[in-house]
Each structure stands twice: as structure tokens, then as C-alpha cells.
Assembly symmetry: C2
């Protein structure tokens, strides 16, 4: 089954939703059927007036509020559901669960995002790890930013050797940048409770990997940073690992010697590069943190929590609608459209 333009309805227009809409809008084989709005806001006004995305009101009350504020409303959410081919739910964690029966009643496949429980969708999804398993499924859950990064790294390492053991520490950003009421501002907050959920979440995609993760929250608002150690089943060579990372899509190999000495510098690079909103869709691995010692491999990388799952949402759409059977082809289409395809080559030049 192929479609010329798959019609995507985006429910939830926040950190992820607004980015998914823009990414869909860039794809050659998709269009934004619409976004679903609840209340008038500057963000909704930009979506409607600047970006000209059709706006569907969540319900009659929303429609009245939106219309009263002078924002053009195309219809109600259910009208959007009727017209679309697939729904991307990017609502706040926990909200999607209540929406699923509606999507099902309209017989629309749907993509959930990482905050939701694994069991709510047919499959937990990472493009490089298990694209084919999602082909034609009714639903897919794109795993969280941290889990997405871990999957990309581990799938890449698996092409060099099987992996006996992984321990990773997520040094987390304080909060999404608009949550100015949250901290920490000068503290480091341990995630109590032993292992963090990220390891378990990786296993929802890569069940055979022995992985344990821990997390601390820091006052950076810019991104997460992971410190990872993998114990491989065979001896590996640092140079070989770096080469493999460099040729993997959605992994950008950077180094501190070029000036990218912190996550702030990495994200400024993305801004300078002209990325929309300064987004870094790739996992950015510091080359000079990669070190192999026997079978042990360590690395540190930057995970732009706002952006990293966006290309996976696009690929998940293609898989659910069976628009493309090859993960590599979908990834390439997505990344070309986002204009991040082969940015590794551009980076290396300077």
C-alpha cells in the first residue's frame, strides 16, 4: 500500500507535537491534516497563522474559546480524526491512555510518545532497532528521548559485537525550558529507587541486552548527557567504534577539540547550523570520550530531549501505514527532509 500524501493528525501541541507537525510538513510523502487545540495561546496562533496548520478544536467549548480569540478553526477533533490516515498523540504523559479508545473507534492507527506505558501500543518503536516489526501495526509507542538515544547507540554497537552488559548514567536536564517553576537551580538530584526506568524501557525494544541505568537531575535546561559503559563480548578498537558511529544515521560524532566542550556548545552548533528551533535530532557522541579497554567501551553523549524523538515519530508513521518497507529508506527520507542527512560529513570538515 502506498499513498502519495499521508494525512497526519497531531493531538497535543507542546514540545513534541509542534516539532512533529513541522517535521511532517517537511516530508515529501506526508501532510499535516491538522493539529488539535484546546485553548487559544501564542503557540496556537503561530501554528494557525504563521504555519497555517488546520486547527481542530478538542470539543465544542474549545471551538468557542478559540473562535472568540480570533483564531480560525477548521472543525472539531472528530472531524480531523475522520479525515486523517494516522494520529500522532503527543499529549502530556498519561493523557494518551484516555484517547486511545477514540482513535480505535475511528479505526485510525496511532503513534504514542515515550511518557506512555509500553503496553498501550502494539509495539515500542525505534527506527534503527525494530522498524520492520511495526509495519502495518495498529499502534506504536516511540520510546522516550533517553531510551531512543540508548537504542541508537546499542544497535550501532551490536553491529560490532554482541553486548554482555551495559551500565549508563543519565545526567538529566532540570526540566523542559518552559517549566520555569521547576528546578533544580544549583543542585544535583538523585533519582532514588535503584535503577532508573530507562534500562527497562530499552528492553522493550532490545529484550536480550543486559542493561542497568541510573539517573541524576542537574540544573542544565539544555539537554540530557549520558555516560555509558558497555562490556562487549569481544575486544573492540576505539577507532573502529568511532567509524561505526560516524556512519550511523542520527548519530553525530563531535569532539571537544573543535570547541564543542559542553552540551551548550553542541546546541549552539545546531542553532548556528540553522536547525529549526536549534534542534539536534541526532545523538551527539563526544569522540574524545570514546575509549575502549579490552572488552569495555565507554562514551559520553548529548541527548537533546526536545528533538531526538521527532524523526522516530516520522518513521513510525511510515511503518504503521506501510508507506516504506525498508527502515534505511524511511530514515534517509526523513533525515533528508529535515536536512540533517549527512551532517556528519559537514561537521567533520571543520
Amino acid at each position: 500500500m502506498t499513498r502519495t500524501l499521508a494525512r497526519i493528525l497531531i493531538v497535543g501541541y507542546g514540545v513534541v507535537g509542534k516539532r512533529v507537525a513541522d517535521a511532517v510538513d517537511e516530508q515529501p510523502d506526508m501532510k499535516v491534516e491538522g493539529i488539535v487545540g484546546v485553548n487559544p495561546s501564542s503557540l496556537i496562533a503561530v501554528a494557525s497563522r504563521t504555519k497555517r496548520y488546520p486547527l481542530f478544536a478538542k470539543d465544542q467549548e474549545s471551538l468557542e474559546r478559540l473562535t472568540a480569540s480570533g483564531i480560525t478553526v477548521t472543525g472539531l477533533r472528530d472531524d480531523g480524526l475522520e479525515e486523517c490516515d494516522v494520529v500522532v498523540d503527543a499529549t502530556r504523559a498519561g493523557v494518551a491512555e484516555g484517547n486511545i479508545s477514540t482513535y480505535s473507534s475511528f479505526r485510525k492507527p496511532f503513534v504514542l510518545n515515550g511518557g506512555e506505558r509500553a503496553g498501550l501500543a502494539d509495539i515500542s518503536f525505534n527506527a534503527q532497532a525494530n522498524y520492520k516489526e511495526a509495519l502495518g501495526a495498529d499502534s506504536a509507542r516511540v520510546v522516550s528521548c533517553n531510551t531512543t538515544a540508548l537504542c541508537r547507540i546499542l544497535v550501532t554497537l551490536q553491529s560490532l559485537s554482541s553486548i554482555d552488559d551495559v551500565f549508563a548514567v543519565a545526567v538529566r536536564r532540570a526540566a523542559d525550558s518552559l517549566r520555569i517553576d521547576k528546578g533544580p537551580i544549583n543542585g544535583i538530584v538523585p533519582a532514588a529507587g535503584g535503577f532508573s526506568h530507562h534500562g527497562r524501557d530499552v528492553k522493550s525494544i532490545l529484550p536480550k541486552i543486559h542493561i542497568q541505568t541510573m539517573a541524576v537531575k542537574t540544573s542544565s535546561t539544555l539537554s540530557h548527557v549520558h555516560v555509558l559503559r558497555a562490556r562487549l563480548n569481544s575486544t573492540v578498537n576505539t577507532r573502529r567504534v568511532i567509524e561505526e558511529l560516524e556512519k550511523t544515521p542520527r548519530i553525530l560524532v563531535i569532539d571537544t577539540k573543535s570547541g564543542l566542550v559542553s552540551n551548550a556548545h553542541v546546541l549552539e552548533w545546531a542553532r548556528d547550523k540553522g536547525r529549526p528551533r536549534g534542534d539536534l535530532w541526532e545523538v551527539a557522541v563526544w569522540e574524545d570520550s570514546v575509549h575502549c579497554s579490552g572488552k569495555d567501551l565507554v562514551m559520553i553523549y548529548c541527548v537533546h530531549n526536545e528533538a531526538i524523538v521527532i524523526p522516530e515519530n516520522i518513521d513510525a508513521i511510515r511503518a504503521l501505514l506501510e508507506m516504506e518497507s525498508s527502515p534505511g529508506a524511511s530514515i534517509e527520507t526523513t533525515d533528508r527532509a529535515l536536512d540533517c542527512f549527512q551532517d556528519q560529513a559537514d561537521y567533520s570538515k571543520y
Copy 2:
């Protein structure tokens, strides 16, 4: 050989030096013979006028500058060296190397601090790990704050099982609090170069442990936080580990449920407790981060970089001068004098 009051000269009066002076001043078997000053400053004025520590000028020029500012000077550094029994060098990293020949020419044993190379002293020192090896030595290097914390934890774990493997991530404070010119303020900075030096430094004290460490720098100015995984040689039980930590000197077992949810909260506890400068000499392990899974054990703990090495400096003095042959007795004397002895019991009560 026993002395009633060992006479200590402190060279370098900054973050560590001023704390060592105060800790010496509290000990029943030591006195501050003096501190060595270079330039007049509010800190030196407090040391001289409030604390009444004898002040030795580094050289004739220093003496003139200090005297001109109205600060009373007892003599020159060499006068202090003549009179003291032992020198604690707490100068900035790299400076001590140039001082060692002077200490040796006066035939005075000396204690160095963590910033210096391991080879500069007879022994790298941690009270719980190798006190006895330092008995009567000419010099000892108290290892850095991070290494001291790692040694305390690992020695404690070794009492439960031999350790096959350790991987620890130091989530570091940005800079000492007075370095207001340094960052990061909103970034996370990877320590490039593969493994960090802390693991190697632990091996200078515990050579048989297989340990790898990595580090990232964050914008907290309050303390370091470590995330550690140890793979033991035998299965351990979470409750048993916590009990062992609780009964170990200089380890404080805290938990987030009591409100100590970040390093900021932990250090505020030390301030509320009435600790001088709000110092936390102990490693503070979050009980609810401790988790065992088979032979794997993870934990997160807070390392107050300004304070944690202070009791070790005191014990190193006792070892070099052979004032006490038992590490346990020295540790108890030090901790009683600092008034942190049995604070675990006090903490647990609330």
C-alpha cells in the same frame, strides 16, 4: 613515640588549608603551630585576629606586606618549619612539588593533598583503607575528595564481598564556590579523554580493585554526586549493604523520604546541624538509591568536595607521627573532636 600536642604547620590557607587548621585546632592531641600567609586578605585577617592562629610570612616581602596591613606576623615560614612537627601542604595543585625539598631540608614529615601527583609522597592515604601503611612514613598524600569518597565506599563493600568490577560516574560541581569566574552555569561538560583519573587514583590505594570512572561537570556549586555500580564476587542483600554503610565511620546513610532530595538539601542539613561552614565530612549515601540485583550493587552519594578530605588530613598527621597505631582509634578521635562521631545515630532518629 607519643606527643602531648603535635605541632602542625599549615602551608596554603584556602579551601582545604583553612579547614585543616580548624580541624587541627579541635583535636585533643594537636595544635596549630601556625599558618603560612603570602598576602593580606580578609581570610588571613580572620585567621590571625579571630582564630588567633600564629601567622608565618612566606618570605621577607610577604612579611612586609602583611605587617603593613596591620596583621601580626609571628615570623617567617622557615621559623614555622623549624618549630613544627609536621607540615600539611594545602597549596593549589602543582605548587607543593616545589615545596617538598624545603620540608625535607628541615627534616619534617609532610602531608600533601589530592591535587598532587601520587609519586610525590611515600604513600597515597585513606584512613580506612591504609592507615597502618603510613605509620612513621616521611610523607603521605591524602587523595582527592572524589577518590576519598570512592575509597570509603569500596573499603566498606569489601567487608561484605570481594569486588570484581566498579564503574562510577562523578557528576561534578562546577567549581569551588569562590571561583565565580568559572562555569558551567547551564551546561553539562563531559570530561573527555576516556576514563577519568579517579579510578587510577583509587588504585594508588586499593591496587587490586578493577575500577573505571568517568566524569561530567555540572552547574551545581555545592558538591559532587557519584553514581556507582559495583559488581561483587557474591550475591548481596540491599538491607545488609545499608547496615554495613550505616555502621561505617564517615559514611552517613540518608534518604530522600526524610526530605534530603538533593545535594542542596544534604548540605543544608549540615548547616542546620551547626557544622562549621556547613561542612559535610562524611560521604552521604542515599539509602533509597542503594539497590542490589544479584551480584550488582548500585548507589548514589554526595561528596562535599570542600570538606571530605579534612578528617583524612588529621589521621594522616597521626599516622606519620605514629601518635596512634590503630586506624579505628585515630578515626574515632578525629571524628569526636569534629563532633561528627555517631551522627548517623542522630540522623536516623528523625
